[in-house]
Amino acid sequence: MKAAFRKLAVFVALAGASLSARAEEVSVAVAANFSAPMQKIAVEFEKATGHKAQLVSGSTGKFYAQIKSGAPFQLLLAADDETPAKLVKEGDGVPGSQFTYAVGKLVLWSPTPGFVDDKGEVLKAGKFAHLALANPKLAPYGFAATETLKALGLADALQPRLVIGESITQAQQFVVSGNAELGFIAFSQIHKDGKLIDGSYWLVPAKHYTPIRQDAVVLAKGKGSAAVEALAGFLKSDKARAIIKSYGYEL
């Protein structure tokens, strides 16, 4: 037992040494909706620069609270543009480092082929019990969904049928498990490896909602780090942009 413990300690020490000997590691907080494309980008980033990006995926609101409490993140890829601006204003983000890395698109989606038509008429016909969306107070996509319902004049009529997930991930989960027939989620969520997944969807016209700008910002803990700067630059590269586009984002 004791010997095993000693072996483990040696292993941990060696692992730590090999890490510090290698190139820098960047700690990145990534909005949940951008987690899949970011994993791909991180692989390309490591190939191109030798630096490693350590990704933590979660909700932007939670990241804000964690960053305020001293979380070790160096770069934030938020789901909105307000949180990065707020962090800069409050001194937790580096001034001038904020930029839009993707613009999200809203879809109305059902896993059932043919259920959602390409004009969103399914909402007016109302042949469903539950319509899932993300909490509009917490998630920009949820807010965009309520804007869309208002624009279509259906907000009041559909109110009793709305079920609210804490994030777009949960909204999608309600739909995938069949408990809600359809839901408003991010276009990126119905992409897998750059291809559309099964089901039917309506790509909500941009005129119905405020553009979902997803901004990145360098955080105070990443200030002056070459690797952080390299990653921020890499997000604007053609290679990264191609990956971002293949997941249904605009730029």
Binding site: G61, H130, N179
Partner: protein
């Protein structure tokens, strides 16, 4: 720290849910506890382990399975739909069912311990006095197990009030129907509305403390919670 109407609605809904669940749990839990305390069946350990599962499992596991089982493809979902009751997720009834599962061990175990602690003797004496099994249960076992019942009711109630993960998974956050206190606090924290989160969270801390203090002071917890003596 002014609470919004939605906050008050969440408080009221939580109290309603916890009261109903506690009542149902006492009704469902008592026979289970009685059986577990007295049976010599080989199934005893199996049933005991099943009842205790929610203590060990993360609420997300329970919520995930409930979402699937109560969904349109799940057995419970198909049953409730064929009975014309509709589906359980996103409804108050669904939360009640989920909470009964989730809080079951917190009610069954204290009652079971109380039944076991009193032993065979009082019941045998009652039997020699020609008390029927039902009379022995109502007039001997129930009064003797009273501290266990108090602990069970308080823990069942408090545990349901504190429930979060399961509700988050199957509730759908609907004000007045499934938006309970813990979820509302989470919403406020996520939305960076810390003042409102404090209003509710501090209230919940105070409430929980008073409940536990009352429990320990009443002495009901003596045999079953391992504190006091």
């Amino acid at each position: 720290m002014a609470l919004t109407p939605d906050d008050w609605s969440a408080v009221w809904l939580t109290l309603k849910l916890a009261s109903l669940v506690t009542l149902l749990l006492l009704i469902v839990g008592t026979p289970i506890a009685w059986w577990l305390a007295r049976t010599r069946s080989r199934l005893r350990n199996v049933i005991g382990a099943v009842v205790a599962l929610p203590i060990v499992l993360p609420p997300t596991v329970l919520g995930f399975y409930l979402l699937i089982v109560m969904g349109p493809q799940g057995p419970v979902g198909q049953l409730t739909e064929s009975l014309g009751l509709g589906r359980l997720p996103f409804t108050f009834a669904g939360l009640v069912v989920a909470s009964v599962f989730y809080s079951l061990p917190f009610v069954v175990q204290p009652i079971q311990n109380a039944f076991m602690a009193m032993g065979e003797r009082p019941l045998e004496v009652a039997a020699t006095l020609r008390a029927s099994p039902w009379e022995r249960f109502v007039h001997v076992a129930l009064p003797l197990a009273r501290p266990g019942f108090i602990t069970a009711a308080v823990l069942g109630f408090a545990h349901t009030v504190g429930e979060f993960g399961v509700v988050l998974m199957i509730g759908g956050n609907i004000p007045g129907k499934t938006q309970v206190l813990s979820v509302q606090i989470y919403n406020h924290v996520e939305a960076i509305e810390y003042a409102q989160a404090h209003g509710l969270a501090a209230g919940l801390v105070a409430f929980s403390f008073v409940v536990l203090l009352a429990l320990y002071t009443l002495g009901g917890a003596r045999n079953t919670l391992g504190t006091g003596q």
